[in-house]
């Protein structure tokens, strides 16, 4: 799980909150699933910029997941404006699942 960020502290807080956003089919949170690519914080302009992916392009649950990410960041950082980019470059693959995520899927 290699998330690009310009603020490790803020990123840790954001990821802790985003661990509550689940992929409803897989039952695993999107952080351990490896859907978060980048989280940047503009302290002066009070903006967050988040780059995420989906397990498959045109995923039927895509809109729900992106809505949930935006909503979670809004609640966690109420004073920040959230910008989001959905990317498929690079496309998601199984290697992006964290060790914790693999352990979870092994047990279920």
């Amino acid at each position: 799980m290699n998330i690009i960020t310009n603020s490790n502290i803020q990123c840790t807080i954001a990821l802790a909150a985003l661990q509550n956003v689940m992929d409803p089919e897989i039952g695993l949170n999107i952080v351990d699933l490896g859907l978060i690519y980048q989280l940047d914080f503009d302290e002066a302009g009070k903006k967050i910029f988040c780059t995420i992916t989906l397990t498959t392009q045109f995923c039927p649950m895509g809109e729900s997941i992106t809505n949930a990410v935006k909503e979670t960041l809004k609640v966690t950082f109420p004073e920040y404006e959230t910008g989001m980019k959905l990317t498929f470059d690079p496309p998601w693959n199984h290697e992006m699942i964290s060790a914790e995520g693999r352990e979870f899927l092994n047990e279920r």
């Binding site: 649950m61 949930a68 909503e71 693999r102």
Partner: protein
């Protein structure tokens, strides 16, 4: 760097309003077909060319199998081609025309009136398929992202159009002599273009994408899928040629072996996907879907026996032929739909009801929107009914056939119960 716009670039999927009517229609058709099967069960021992058998077969093939596949594929095509569905209006047009055409056609067969009901039913169906084919073709051209799965689907729909066209010609042939032989002679041609060209090609094309996806499998083998595609289409074209231009029965073994090889390759594809899955637990819906993959082999075994018997003696074995058809429509096709309905529909409904609430509070899991207990009972009744019906057909036991048909009606009722529960789902107060 911080382009903090609200635009997520979200890849919009097909509207659920387009997809859900197909699911509802297919569920009702499945129930109707099973009730008719119960009413006609004992008659099936006689001959496969019976008006009631034709009606049930077409309700199963079109009302159940085709409508469900069309519905699911309107949702899945964007995932498969990685592009938007071109037109919702064309999707509605397909639904309305097919929904009107199928009962007309089935009624025509049931009362064996090859006049206006069967003819209009066939015409409406053909226009519905053309509308879907256009929608699919334009979606693929616009996405510019062709892949093996999309090619499988497009070719399958083209074969569906060929099946329906031949079918309508057979209907016309009852009243105007369009063909050199009688309609009954061409029935194997019509049936196998539909079964192999439409159902087999489409189910493998979609299944090869969905099965590894739902298993979260690392396995992927595009080259093997292209081999499967070539074997199925090559086998089918060879079958058409042999059927129309030769009288040598044993030649039919060549296309049969090509299609059997394709099915074995697909079974191997699914097995390797299963072995290389990251998610260890396989839910009941996937178990039923994987069972249906194995069930693909049953018709092949039956067909080998039927062709072997035909080579030895030209007299048709009616109960083997009916069992062969039953295994395809009530076995393989039904099993994959029973499993995949509850892997796709709960997510479509969940998205419709809860997507705007995502991240704002706790929402139920899509799997909680239907009853898994009802699903398990449905699976038990289905497997028991399916096995008993085959025994009844092969051993000519009328009472076993009726008992098995009653179990299949119960299967359809439980299936409908869960589908209605899903379709009528309202959000719980959060």
């Amino acid at each position: 760097m911080f382009a903090a716009t609200g635009n997520t670039g979200t890849t919009k999927t097909t509207s659920c309003k387009v997809v859900l009517p197909f699911y509802g229609y297919a569920a009702v058709a499945f129930l109707v077909a099973n009730i008719l099967l119960l009413l006609s069960a004992t008659g099936l021992i006689k001959h496969y060319f019976h008006p009631h058998t034709l009606a049930i077969t077409h309700i199963m093939a079109l009302g159940w199998g085709t409508m469900m596949i069309l519905g699911a594929s309107h949702q899945l095509v964007p995932v498969l081609i990685e592009g938007k569905l071109y037109s919702n209006k064309l999707a509605y047009t397909s639904f309305i025309l097919a929904a009107a055409g199928i009962p007309l056609l089935a009624y025509g067969f049931y009362v064996f009136d090859m006049g206006w009901p069967a003819k209009w039913g066939g015409r409406l169906l053909i226009v519905a398929i053309i509308a879907y084919l256009i929608n699919l073709a334009v979606s693929m051209v616009k996405s510019r992202n062709e892949n093996v799965h999309a090619v499988f689907i497009f070719t399958a729909v083209a074969w569906l159009l060929a099946t329906a066209t031949v079918g309508l010609m057979l209907v016309y042939n009852f009243t105007y002599l369009l063909l050199p032989g009688n309609s009954l002679d061409y029935l194997p041609l019509h049936a196998h273009i539909g079964i192999v060209g439409w159902f087999l090609l489409l189910i493998i094309g979609v299944g090869s994408r969905l099965i590894p996806m739902f298993l979260i499998s690392k396995y992927n083998n595009t080259q093997q899928l292209w081999w499967i595609y070539g074997l199925i289409n090559g086998g089918l074209l060879a079958f058409i040629f042999i059927f129309l231009y030769t009288d040598t029965g044993w030649l039919l073994l060549f296309p049969l072996l090509a299609v059997a090889a394709a099915i074995l390759l697909f079974v191997n594809f699914c097995y390797l996907s299963y072995r290389q899955r990251i998610r260890k637990k396989v839910d009941e819906q996937m178990e039923v879907s994987l069972l249906s993959v194995l069930m693909m082999l049953l018709p092949v075994i039956f067909l080998i026996i039927i062709i072997a018997l035909l080579i030895m003696s030209p007299k048709e074995n009616s109960s083997l032929l009916i069992t062969y058809g039953f295994i395809i429509f009530f076995g393989w096709i039904t099993a994959i739909i029973l499993g995949m309905t509850f892997k796709t529909l709960p997510f479509i409904v969940w998205n419709k009801v809860y997507h705007h609430l995502a991240g704002k509070g706790k929402t139920p899991n899509p799997k909680d929107l239907f009853s898994n207990t009802v699903f398990k009972w449905m699976s038990v009744f289905y497997i028991a009914g399916f096995v008993l019906f085959i025994l009844g057909l092969l051993l000519h036991y009328a009472i076993v056939l009726q008992l098995a048909a009653a179990l299949l009606v119960l299967t359809a009722l439980l299936y409908n119960w869960n589908v209605i529960k899903l379709l009528l789902h309202k959000p719980a107060s959060l």
